[in-house]
């Protein structure tokens, strides 16, 4: 079955089993491996992408449900690492193993799009579902605050 949606700014049509989770369509069918498999049950957040701007777990999202919608993955967040969240993540040197970071970044970007100056409580609420086994939580928290400053400063920081 052909399913068409907007992916990272371009029109994308895939011909797959409509029940296939978006995660596996992105990774196996389309080769966008920045979105990670972690649990398959929306428990860890590694597969987080944005659908119409909202942070969504792609491992439990059937590809048929994104027909006509706009999907953004880590590869589409910016062409040149210029997104405030990516810039803040680099400035704070957040990643260790790095596996969960695509999901963390996509969730943080979605938070900042809705809440320009998130509090610590806002950050906890938005990122509680994103597990990092390396324990980079303190750096993530600092980086989200920094990203908010970068964004408020019109991209300067």
């Amino acid at each position: 079955m052909a399913i068409t949606f907007t992916l990272n700014g371009g029109r994308q049509t895939v011909n797959v089993n409509p029940q296939t989770p978006l995660l596996w369509v992105l990774r196996d069918t389309l080769g966008l491996t920045g979105t990670k498999f972690g649990c398959g049950m929306a428990l860890c957040g590694a597969c987080t992408v944005q659908i119409n701007g909202n942070a969504v777990r792609s491992c439990v999202t059937q590809v048929s449900s994104v027909a006509g919608k706009t999907v953004t993955t880590i590869e589409g967040l910016s062409a040149d690492l210029s997104h405030p969240v990516q810039r803040a993540w680099m400035a704070e040197d957040v990643p260790q193993c790095g596996y969960c970071q695509s999901g963390q970044i996509m969730a943080a970007a979605s938070l900042l799009a809705k809440t320009a100056k998130p509090t610590d409580a806002d950050i906890s609420e938005a990122l509680r579902g994103n597990i990092c086994r390396c324990g980079t939580y303190a750096q993530i928290r600092r980086a989200v605050h920094r990203a908010a400053e970068i964004k408020a400063g019109g991209g300067k920081a």
């Binding site: 296939t20 979105t35 498999f37 649990c39 880590i74 993540w89 260790q96 596996y99 324990g135 980079t136």
Partner: protein, 651 residues
């Protein structure tokens, strides 16, 4: 742009292969735990390669150690770059191939990467620098001693004498290796000791970093394996009719670890695997459970075991003392649960095999692949990719062997095996459960005079020498407390549950046990826990050092109202560490507010990475202490995913 290309193989090896640029290598001695256990392969004298300087002035370092977040890519590059005196901004890295002749055993266990690379990598950088100086001296007809290097250039005495490394690399590569290239005065270091930014961050925030699970090989198929839920069980019979009816399922085959379903994508393979109907022969562990394991360990701990450490005569001293204490502690099995589920990609073509893997044991992966393919290790090519966490789990290479088994059955077709999270949690090699019975006594002034620890714990290495597995008793038999009568003994207590490296293994249980029991002794003697430790560690200056720092920084003895403090101090593989935790208890619920940590880990190459690692260890330890436990019922693990095995989150 990723520094590592998966399909378009290593640019370095390509250019290196035709002799372009400077190739330089030395044999890296491997001093890991495994090496100490005598599993080290013989290292021939043939040198390998670490440095490539392109004619375009790019500098590529071959990283022989795998990267799981611990920072090897950055730290090892810093060692090379410091002595090479190249432009750090132009440094690129690639993972080295598995090459025992050049590199010895390649693996990352036992916190040994920096220790084993410190001397040889700096020497490699220094030698390359001397060869570049020499090449410039030849070109200018100058005296080498009059020349110097400056961030990627050789500079002469006259203003126009300035050549980039790239323009000299080809000539330099033809020169003989200098015998004793001088090393920099540490006072002049511009990288080592500085909080240099990680080289892998850009790729890890852009989604471009290639982990094992991201390998994509043309024509690749995808696999999922159903394994017997009971440890030690095997397939009795299976019906794959329904599995084969799932759209996208291509093949079903039995392998040594279970039944594999091969599909045109991961989802199809996983759906097919769910549709398998398998009868298992559950084997001898079918009735094993956590309560029985705990009882068995506790029973063992009641009678004397193999002696791991003996100072004085604890038995006699105990009998002669009025003020005695005893306590028993228990820790559960734990899963590693790295964020990247286990996976491997492999292809078998005739008499060769190639694998793409996120593994802590590159050498072991090569051997496992060779065994499964029925080939010699020389015919196996290992491509190392980033690990999405390892924590010791990826020191086991079971997932490599089973991937190659599948690949061998469909020759010429690359296969990517992906474990589900449930597979990962239920077929782990767990942090061993452990049970320790302590005994102690106090002298007339209330200071500890006796300290005994009897350990009942599985052994995943062969029990060594006198029947003691040092991995199971580390953190106890290594205690440096000056207590006149101190005994540690050990019972090997195997319960049929696979166990292995998990962070620092024995230290993860025993440090907690020993610190807790010492505090019980302190309380019984009316002593302050820090003061007691200071007295007992008076002859261990580095432990004493970190203890004093942590007590001062944590404001020991004066916690905020409603909060309590606990302290521990340990020397784990040469890193002297002390921590103070500040906690509160509300309605029986423990909350950790703050952990203060002091570390003396010797010469620090990158303080920012050390800091990351320590913070990471604290979070991992808190997950273990406050959240996780793997429990067994009917021979199988009861946890399956992060709902039943929770870990620390951002809040």
């Amino acid at each position: 742009m990723s520094a590592i290309t998966v399909v378009n193989r290593r640019s370095f090896l390509r250019t290196g292969g035709i002799g372009l640029g400077l190739l330089l290598g030395f044999t890296l001695p491997e001093r890991s735990k495994l090496a100490a256990q005598g599993r080290r392969p013989a290292v021939a004298a043939k040198p390998g390669a670490y440095i490539h300087i392109g004619t375009d002035d790019t500098v590529t370092f071959l990283i022989t150690k795998a990267e799981m977040g611990q920072g090897t890519v950055t730290s090892l590059s810093m060692l090379l770059a410091e002595e090479l005196d190249c432009d750090w901004a132009k440094v690129r890295t690639e993972f080295a191939p598995v090459d025992p002749a050049s590199y010895g055993m390649q693996g990352v266990v036992g916190s040994a990467s920096i220790r084993s690379s410190w001397a040889p990598l700096r020497q490699a950088g220094a030698s390359a620098r001397v060869m570049l100086l020499e090449a410039a001296a030849h070109r200018w007809g100058a005296d080498k001693s009059q020349l110097r290097t400056e961030r990627g250039f050789v500079v002469g005495t006259s203003p126009n004498q300035r050549l980039s490394y790239g323009s000299l690399s080809e000539a330099a590569s033809k020169l003989p290796l200098p015998a004793n290239a001088p090393l920099k005065d540490p006072k002049l270091y511009s990288l080592i000791g500085k909080p240099v930014k990680r080289l892998d961050t850009r790729d890890k925030v852009s989604g471009q970093a290639k982990f094992g699970i991201d390998a994509r090989i043309p024509g690749m198929v995808y696999a999922s394996i159903a394994r017997c839920p009971v440890f030690g069980g095997k397939v009795s019979s299976f019906d794959d009719t329904k599995a084969k009816a799932i759209p996208g399922v291509k093949n079903v085959l039995q392998i040594s670890t279970g039944v594999a379903v091969v599909g045109e994508n991961t989802w199809a393979a996983m759906q097919g695997r769910k549709a398998l109907e398998i009868k298992w022969d559950e084997g001898p562990n079918a009735s094993q459970n956590s309560a029985a394991i705990s009882r068995m360990f506790a029973d063992l701990a009641q009678k004397p075991g193999a002696v791991a450490k003996q100072t004085g005569d604890a038995e006699k001293a105990l009998a002669a003392t009025a003020k005695k204490l005893s306590a028993e502690y228990e820790a559960p099995y734990l899963s590693h649960a790295p964020m990247e589920p286990l996976n491997c990609t492999a292809v078998v073509r005739g008499d060769s095999c190639e694998i793409w893997a996120s593994t802590q044991m590159q050498s072991g992966s090569r051997d496992a692949a060779a065994k499964a393919a029925g080939l010699t290790p020389e015919n196996v090519k290992v491509n190392t990719l980033y690990m999405g966490g390892g924590f010791g789990r990826r020191a086991r290479v079971d997932y490599v062997g089973e991937t190659v088994e599948i690949a061998k059955a469909i020759p010429g077709v690359p296969v990517k095996l992906t474990w589900s999270r449930e597979d990962d949690m239920q077929h782990d090699f767990y942090r061993p459960a452990s049970y320790v019975k302590f005994g102690g006594a106090l002298d007339a002034e209330g200071w500890p005079s006796v300290f005994t620890a009897r350990v009942a714990c599985p052994s995943f290495g062969a029990a060594r020498g006198n029947g003691v597995d040092s991995t199971a008793v580390e953190g106890l038999h290594t205690l440096e407390y000056r207590i006149p009568n101190l005994t540690v003994d050990y019972h090997r207590a195997d319960a049929g549950i696979p166990t292995s490296y998990w962070r620092a293994v024995g230290y993860t249980q025993n440090t907690f046990f020993a610190a807790s029991f010492l505090d019980e002794l302190a309380a019984a003697g009316g002593k302050d826990p820090v003061e007691l430790r200071k007295r007992l560690l008076a002859e261990s200056p580095r432990l004493l050092g970190v203890l004093e720092v942590v007590a001062a920084k944590a404001g020991w003895g004066a916690p905020p109202p409603g909060r309590f403090q606990g302290v521990a101090v340990v020397n784990n593989i040469g890193s002297f560490t002390a921590q103070v935790a500040e906690v509160s208890v509300t309605q029986g619920k423990l909350r950790v507010h703050r952990v203060v940590c002091a570390v003396d880990c010797g010469h620090v190459v990158n303080p920012a990475i050390v800091r990351q690692q320590i913070e990471s260890g604290i979070v991992f330890g808190l997950s273990a202490a406050l959240k996780g436990a793997i429990t067994i019922d009917r021979g199988r693990v009861q946890q399956g995913n992060f709902d039943s095995y929770d870990v620390l989150r951002i809040d």
